[in-house]
Amino acid sequence: MFDIVSILQNNWTLFLIGQYPHGPLGGLANTLILAVLALVLAFPCGLLLALARVSPWKGLRWAATVWVYVLRGIPLLMVIFWTYFLVPLLLGHNITGFMTMLCTLVIYQSAYLCEIIRGGIQALPAGQYEASRALGFGYMRTTIWVILPQALYNTLPSLISQFISIIKETSLGYVINVQELTFAANQVNNQLLTKPFQVFLILAVIYYLLCFGLTQLAGWVERRIARKRLGSGVQTVTPGAVLATDN
C-alpha cells in the first residue's frame, strides 16, 4: 500500500502532464486532449457518413456502408499501422505520433459515430419526415431543421459512451510511442522495475475514475432525456448501444 503512495508522490507529474516543462506534454493531460480532439473532429465525419447512409442516393449509401463495415471489421491497431504508413506518404512529410493517433481515431470513430447517428435518425417516427415534407420543406431543410435536431439530441447519451471508448482507445497510442497516460505508466515502470503491479494498478485506477465518472454522466443524461420525452408525449426510442468499440 505504501508503495503506491510513494510511487504517486514521486511520479505524479509524470502521470499528469508527462515531462511537460522540460519535454513534450504527456500523461493524462495528453490523453484527454487527444480524446477531445478526436471526438470533435470525428463527429462531423460521422454525421456526414450517417446522412450518406440514409440518403436517397444509392451510390452514396453504398460507399458509406462499405466504409463503415470495413472499419468495424478490423482492429484499431491495424488502422493505426495504416495511418502510420499512409498519411506521411499522402502528405509528403512525417507526422508526429500524436497526429498519427488523432487521424486514426478520427477515421475509426467516424464509422461508429455514423452508426450511432444513423440509429438516432431511424428511431424517429416516420411521421416527422412526412409532416415536414407535407409542410413544403425540401429534403435538405427537412434534414437540417426537423430530423437532425431531434436525432442528435436523442443520441447524446451514446455520444458520451463513445467518448469513453475514445479515451480507452487512446491507450493504444502506447504501441506507437505517443506520450499519453499508458506510456507514462510504462516509463515509471521502467524506472522502478520492481513494482509493476502497483504502477499498473495506479494506471487502471486513473482510467477507471475517469471513465466511471463519464458513465454516470451518460446514465444521468439518458434518464433526463427519457423523462423529457415522456413529458412531451412524443414516443421516441433512444438508440441502444448496440455497437462495441471498447478497447
Binding site: 482492429p75 466511471f212 462495441a244 471498447d246 478497447n247
Partner: protein, 233 residues
C-alpha cells in the same frame, strides 16, 4: 512507394508461414478467450440472478472495472503486474511456459466476460415478468418454464449484442501483440520489417481480419434469423 505492388513478395516461403502461424494464434486466442468469457459470464449472470445483495454488488464491481479500464491496460496488468505478486518459485516455473499467450487469454477472457454478462442479463431482463408467471400458472415447473419460455426469448434478445461483442473480442486479440504474442498483427509487423513492403503486408492482415469479422457478423445474422423463425412458429 518505391517499388511496384507485389502481393507475392509477402506471401511466399517463410513470410507466408509466419502469417499463417499468426492467423492460427489469433484464432486460438479468440477461441480460448471466448470460451473462458462465456463460461464466466454464465456464472456471473447466475450469481446476479440469485438476488444476494453482496454477490450482486461484487459482480457489478467486476463488470464496472472491466468496462471502464482499457483492455490494453488490463493486459499489461496481467502480464507485467500479476506475476510479480506470485512467489519467486512460481515465477521461475512460469518462465518456462508460453506465458504471453496464457495471460492474454486470461485478460481478454475476463474482460469480455463482463460484456457478455451484461448482454445476457439485459436480454433476460427485457422479458416481461408476466412470462414467468404465466408459464408457472400453466403448470410448468421452474426448469421447464426456463427451458421452453424464458430462455428462448432471452437468447433471441441478447444474440445481437453477444455477436457484436464476439467480433469485438476477435478484434481485441490484436492487442496481445503489445505483450509479445505472435498473432496476426505481430506477424504482419515482422513481415513488414523483413520485406519493407508495408502496403502488401497490411493489406493481407486487413483482409484476413475483415473476412473473419464479416463471417462472424453474417453467421450471427443467420443465427438471429433462425431464432426469430423458431419463435414465430
Amino acid at each position: 512507394m518505391t517499388h511496384d505492388f507485389d502481393l507475392a513478395a509477402v506471401l511466399r516461403g517463410e513470410y507466408a508461414e509466419l502469417i499463417v502461424k499468426g492467423i492460427e494464434t489469433t484464432l486460438q486466442l479468440a477461441l480460448y478467450a471466448w470460451l473462458l468469457a462465456m463460461t464466466l459470464a454464465l456464472v456471473l449472470v447466475t450469481v446476479r440472478l440469485t438476488g444476494n445483495k453482496i454477490a450482486d454488488r461484487l459482480v457489478a464491481a467486476y463488470v464496472s472495472y472491466h468496462r471502464n479500464v482499457p483492455t490494453l491496460v488490463q493486459l499489461m496488468m496481467w502480464y507485467f503486474g500479476v506475476p510479480n505478486l506470485l512467489s519467486e518459485s512460481t515465477q521461475m516455473a512460469l518462465a518456462n511456459y508460453n506465458t504471453e499467450f496464457l495471460f492474454s487469454v486470461i485478460a481478454l477472457g475476463l474482460c469480455q466476460a463482463a460484456y457478455f454478462c451484461e448482454d445476457i442479463r439485459s436480454g433476460l431482463r427485457a422479458i416481461p415478468g408476466g412470462q414467468t408467471e404465466a408459464s408457472r400458472a400453466l403448470g410448468l415447473g421452474y426448469i421447464r418454464s426456463m427451458r421452453y419460455v424464458i430462455l428462448p426469448q432471452g437468447v433471441r434478445n441478447c444474440l445481437p449484442s453477444l455477436i457484436n461483442h464476439t467480433v469485438l473480442l476477435f478484434k481485441n486479440t490484436s492487442l496481445a501483440m503489445a505483450i509479445g504474442v505472435v498473432e496476426l498483427t505481430y506477424a504482419t509487423r515482422e513481415v513488414e520489417n523483413y520485406t519493407f513492403r508495408a502496403f502488401e503486408s497490411y493489406l493481407v492482415a486487413t483482409v484476413v481480419y475483415l473476412v473473419f469479422s464479416l463471417l462472424l457478423m453474417g453467421g450471427g445474422a443467420l443465427l438471429a434469423r433462425h431464432f426469430n423463425k423458431a419463435l414465430a412458429r
